[in-house]
Symmetry: C2
Subunit: 132 residues, 2 copies
DNA sequence: CTGAATCCGCAAGGATACTG
DNA sequence: CAGTATCCTTGCGGATTCAG
C-alpha cells in the first residue's frame, strides 16, 4: 500500500515536462483530426496498395462504406491534399482517384499500424487458444 | 487523356498482390478497432507521458472528456490489457490507473503519430501564411 | 457511372444529478 | 474521490432516390 500524499505527487514524470506532454497531446489530436475516424486511413490504404481507382471500384475495395460516406470522405481527403481527383470527360464520364505524394508521409505510420494490428491479432489468438 | 479499357485494368498494382492488400486492410481494421475512436489513444498517451494517474486528474489531462466516457473507455482499455487499475482502500478510496507493459508496444506508433501531427501542422501553418 | 439530395434510425457522447 | 444513472442532443452513416 503505497503512501499517497497529495495530488501534486502525481503529475508529469521525469521523462517529460508538462509542456512536452501538452505538445504531444496536441500533435496527437491534430493527427486524429485529419486521419482519424472510421474510413480515412482505410481509403488511403486502399488507394496506396490498390493503386488509383474509380469511385465504384473504390467502394468495393473499402468494404462496407456507402456511396454517400465515400463521397464525403474523398472530398475531405482531397481538401487535405491526400487524394487527387481526375475527371476524364468522355461519355460516360470517368473519375479516377489517386493518392498524392503527400500521402507518402503517412507511409511509416500506416505500416506501423498494420504491423501492430498483425502482432496484436496473433496475441489475441494465442490467448484464445489457452482458454480452450 | 489516358486510355481506359475495362475495370480489370485497375486493381492491385505491381507492389502488392490482392492477398497482401486484404491482409493489410484487415490488420489496419484490427488496429483501428482496438485503439481507434476519439479517446483511447489520448488516454494512453496521457498515462504514458503523464505517468500513473487518478480518475479525476486523468479527466483534467484528457481535455474535454466526460466522466461517463472516461469510465467506459478505461474499462475497455483495461479489458484489452493496456491499462491496470489499482485500488487503495484507504478512506477516502484512491484509485490509480497506470499503463501496462503491453502499452509499450504502441510506443513507436504513438511517436509516429505525434511526429506526423507536428510536421503536418507546420505545413498547414505555412500554407496559411502564403494566403495572406 | 458518379455522385448529390433527402430521409431517418441508432449509437456515441455531453450535462447533470446522485451514490458509496 | 470515483464513479453510476438518467436524460437528451448530436452526428454518423444506411437506404433510397434523383440528376448530369
Amino acid at each position: 500500500m503505497t503512501e499517497l500524499k497529495k495530488e501534486e505527487t502525481i503529475s508529469c514524470n521525469a521523462k517529460h515536462t508538462p509542456d512536452e506532454c501538452n505538445r504531444g497531446i496536441m500533435a496527437l489530436e491534430d493527427t486524429l483530426y485529419v486521419i482519424g475516424g472510421k474510413w480515412k486511413l482505410k481509403i488511403i490504404n486502399a488507394l496506396r496498395t490498390g493503386g488509383s481507382s474509380r469511385f465504384n471500384q473504390l467502394q468495393q475495395t473499402v468494404t462496407g462504406i456507402s456511396a454517400r460516406i465515400l463521397s464525403k470522405e474523398l472530398k475531405e481527403l482531397e481538401l487535405n491534399g491526400f487524394v487527387k481527383r481526375k475527371v476524364y470527360t468522355d461519355t460516360p464520364v470517368v473519375v479516377i482517384y489517386e493518392i498524392t505524394p503527400y500521402s507518402d508521409t503517412l507511409e511509416t505510420l500506416l505500416n506501423e499500424m498494420i504491423k501492430w494490428g498483425t502482432t496484436h491479432k496473433d496475441k489475441i489468438r494465442k490467448e484464445y487458444k489457452k482458454e480452450l
